[in-house]
Amino acid sequence: MKARIHVTLKPGVLDPQGKTISHALGALGFEGVEEVRQGKYLELDLKESDPEKARAEVDEMCRKLLANTVIENYQVEIEA
């Protein structure tokens, strides 16, 4: 079983990386970029084979470790 996790900054939280990237894309001549936001992407291989249990477990991992819930949101997808 695989879990795919996206960790992104909460709306309103400053994203210095996104700002610099969008600036750099502009300097490279890509003119149509309005905004860039950078987040983290994690892939986990799990032993668990029950999708419901896997989701609950990964959710707990996110709250405990993988996301900094003070400033970040996360989203979990479970894949067989």
């Binding site: 210095p16 990386q17 610099t20 990237i21 750099a24 300097a27 490279l28 950078q38």
Partner: protein, 229 residues
């Protein structure tokens, strides 16, 4: 020897290398702002340490794609020597002037401390001030210094004797603290095929005066001065 030191937004160790070069050559290098319109005629271009563009996305990525780097490539093709220290090394790999990449340190933390380096080849303008196998002590200060190249590339670097420095213990061997960042094959610095481009993570420029605690870095700048004069 005429030198240009290039400064990007976020470059922060230019003063250190300017001091070391001034010490070695007797005169101050030119400091170039990345947006400057013209590029001076020089024998050596230095890409100093720092956090160009905040290390955002990947360390060195944005600077590597900036217009001034096109000029650096042109100059390098003409045979001008290029030295990339720390962030400069990261920029050189991102720009494709040196092979491989610099990943996050294996310990995940920024590391600033003295390390020992073994000189693996004195055959380059950058290392002629040293002897093969000599061990020197200089500091490192970086977050993304874990050198990676695939097996094929690594073999090429070894076969062509382009590994300039390896991390080692004070005795020249290895112990559990000698490699500060998990670099493959203990690599601290590499040369281009032409041997006119050097990238290294450590900071020889911070070890050029007795008051700094070590003068082992002077060999690089003194050697360069002799080789390029």
């Amino acid at each position: 020897m005429q030198t240009a030191v290039i400064r990007f937004p976020g470059t922060n160790r230019e003063k250190d290398v300017v001091m070391a070069l001034e010490h070695a050559t007797g005169h101050a290098p030119r400091v170039i702002w990345h947006k400057d319109a013209s590029f001076p005629d020089v024998d050596l271009i230095v890409l100093p340490g720092g956090f160009s563009y905040g290390d955002h996305l990947r360390a060195g990525a944005m600077a590597a794609h900036s217009p001034v780097m096109k000029e650096v490539v042109r100059q390098a093709e003409k045979g001008v020597a290029v030295l990339g220290i720390c962030n400069g090394f990261q920029i050189l790999t991102e720009a494709g002037l040196l092979p491989g990449a610099l990943l996050r340190n294996a310990g995940l933390k920024f590391v600033c401390r003295d390390v020992c380096l073994r000189i693996e080849t004195a055959e380059s303008p950058f290392t002629t001030g040293y002897q093969n196998g000599q061990v020197i002590q200089v500091p490192v200060a970086h977050h993304d210094g874990c050198y990676y190249a695939d097996d094929e590339e690594l073999k090429r670097l070894r076969d062509e004797e382009r590994i300039a420095f390896r991390y080692c213990s004070a005795q020249g061997g290895q112990d559990n603290r000698s490699n500060p960042n998990g670099s493959r094959d203990e690599i601290a610095g590499i040369l281009s095929a032409s041997r006119r481009i050097l990238g290294l993570m450590p900071h020889p420029e911070n070890a050029t005066e007795p008051l700094q605690g070590s003068t082992d870095g002077s060999g690089l700048f003194d050697g360069l001065t002799r080789a390029l004069n």
